[in-house]
């Protein structure tokens, strides 16, 4: 009896839902409702940590896309989706876990959950000026920096990406949230002036490096230091006041410590790329051609670009379908831009990003083909 009542309530619930979801009504799709149900089976575990229910499969098989959309939107309202987005972000930026040495490794994940729970714009994952405590109350972030920058301004992110000259932190910012590697086209990120940099970073060939305290080539065999470091410079400068445990200190100056390894400043700080001591002590930088005062402004500059959303969609598809770096990088930008266009003028929430992406006709068709979902 209980099952019958439950099924009755489900029928009523889903019936009402289908009346409400007319926005995505489209032409005859090139797949059957059974294929669509099979596709949704592949989404259930990554999104809500369970398998597709038999009644969900039934309604998709009998009513098609509208029901799929209604079910997906309901999944996005569940606490399990908050957890799934946290897992995705943790995996992306190598955070999550116990507190260790006073560093709360679960803080980025809580920010991710908070953004989903409150349906805040997706961009806040890197632009929110607040962090959240164990009770999900807004608090200042744990780095002691005056302004937060979402998960970037957590000690967990900072300690997971330490390295000389703050190269690892700058790379993580660009790689995880713009899906780009250095060097990016100079048209997007103009290089820092050669004369402003330490001599080691001005080198464009082996000859330029003679007598300098620097490796003669990088791990890709590249001897043109300037090509990448001219862009590393304004990005890594955003992190110059964060020590190797992620604590921010206004007095950090980024000057190379002559007694320590190349790339290390005094105390627990990392050195700046810039030669001028006044410049090396400033955390101002440039991001995608825009002058920024700090990490928060850099994150906002990134979030204003289409590359941030392209990357967010790539990361979403990579998480859901377990794509590797190459596969995610191969997703055609025309598809990404179509999805971005569907957001309209509003800044999408995490839920909208996932829904628009996973229900895009080309994503459904492409995934069905790759997953071997046949009529």
């Amino acid at each position: 009896m209980k099952k019958l009542i439950g099924l009755g309530i489900s029928l009523l619930f889903l019936g009402v839902g289908s009346l409400l979801t007319t926005q995505f009504a489209a032409e005859e799709p090139p797949y059957t409702n059974q294929q669509l149900a099979a596709y949704m089976r592949h989404l259930a575990t990554p999104l809500i940590g369970r398998s597709l229910k038999s009644n969900e499969a039934f309604f998709i098989e009998t009513q098609g896309f509208k029901q799929a959309r209604f079910i997906l939107e309901n999944w996005m309202k569940s606490p399990e989706f908050e957890t799934s987005f946290k897992v995705m972000i943790d995996d992306l930026i190598r955070t999550g876990g116990n507190s260790s040495n006073g560093i709360d490794f679960d803080l980025p994940g809580r920010i991710a959950k908070y953004i989903v729970r409150n349906k805040l714009p997706f961009e806040q994952i890197i632009t929110s000026e607040f962090c959240v405590d164990q009770d999900f109350t807004r608090v200042n972030c744990d780095t002691n920096a005056p302004v937060g920058a979402g998960v970037l301004s957590t000690r967990a992110f900072m300690t997971s990406h330490t390295g000389r000259f703050n190269l690892t932190r700058a790379s993580a910012l660009l790689n995880k949230f713009a899906c780009m590697d250095y060097p990016v086209p100079f048209s997007l990120e103009p290089p820092a002036a050669k004369e402003d940099l330490l001599p080691e970073f001005r080198a464009e060939s082996l000859g330029d490096l003679s007598g300098l305290n620097a490796p003669s080539f990088d791990d890709r065999g590249n001897t043109n230091c300037y090509s990448c470091h001219s862009q590393f410079a304004p990005h890594s400068q955003l992190f110059v006041k964060y020590d190797n445990t992620g604590l921010w200190d206004a007095n950090a100056n980024g000057v190379q410590d002559p007694e320590r390894d190349f790339g290390l400043s005094q105390g627990n700080f990392f050195a700046s790329h810039y030669a001028n001591p006044e410049r090396s002590a400033s955390e101002t930088g440039v991001f995608f051609g825009k002058e920024v005062k700090n990490l928060n402004e850099a994150a906002k500059a990134l979030a204003e670009s289409k590359f941030f959303y392209q990357c967010g969609i790539r990361n979403t598809l990579a998480y859901v379908f377990k794509l590797d770096e190459r596969q995610a990088g191969d997703i055609n930008t025309r598809l990404l831009d179509q999805i971005i266009d569907s957001f309209g003028d509003e800044k999408p929430s995490v839920q909208e990003l996932f829904t628009r992406t996973l229900l895009h006709p080309l994503v459904i068709e492409s995934a069905m083909k790759s997953l071997g979902i046949k009529p």
């Binding site: 943790d90 995996d91 876990g97 116990n98 990088g329 055609n332 080309l362 997953l371 071997g372």
Partner: protein
């Protein structure tokens, strides 16, 4: 030990029986997700979006933990997952605070640990054949195939006690590649 080996054998056999396209989780690709890199404009591949399997990997352990809970929503003994939770990092869960990165491979040793740690989970439930089939369908998120129905019926026609029969079906369902990777 023999029981575990039997379950593993059964699991493998059933994976072979199931036609591709019907929840064939071996179609999944592996390797952790991170770090997609963009190709310069104008160098896009012809397809809009495609991927193909390379190696087997599991979903993140936190997702699988949720899935285990949801697979027995009406009959869940919280203590049945206590041992599983205590060994989470050994099963591939991440904890960067203690230096553990996620480990998503799925091989014989992890499969053995997985089955061992979940044996208690499979010792409670509705031990009837209907109960076993319901658990399997809930865990896998699909209707069982005819071959799978026949196999479960065959197990229930054996001399084993009902809890043991249920345990075999339960362990098959939750150690199935489809369960852990899809």
């Amino acid at each position: 030990m023999v029981g575990f080996a039997g379950v593993l054998l059964l699991s493998g056999m059933w994976n072979c029986l199931r036609p591709r396209g019907q929840g064939s989780s071996d179609l999944f690709n592996d390797t952790p997700v991170n770090q997609p890199s963009v190709k310069p404009e104008g160098e896009q591949p012809p397809s809009l979006f495609s991927f193909s399997p390379k190696q087997i990997s599991t979903r993140p352990l936190k997702s699988l933990r949720l899935k285990l809970e949801k697979s027995k929503p009406t009959d869940r003994d919280d203590s049945s997952l206590a041992e599983f939770d205590s060994q989470a990092t050994n099963l591939g869960d991440y904890n960067f605070g203690e230096g553990y990165a996620p480990e998503k491979s799925w091989g014989s040793s992890k499969m053995f640990s997985w089955v061992s740690l979940l044996s208690q989970y499979c010792q409670s439930g509705d031990f009837s054949v209907t109960g076993a089939k319901t658990l399997a369908q809930t865990a896998l998120g699909r209707t069982l195939t005819e071959a799978e129905h026949l196999k479960i019926d065959e197990i229930y026609a054996s001399e084993l006690t009902d809890p043991k029969k249920y345990g075999v079906v339960c362990l098959w369902a939750i150690s199935n590649l489809e369960f852990v990777s899809q």
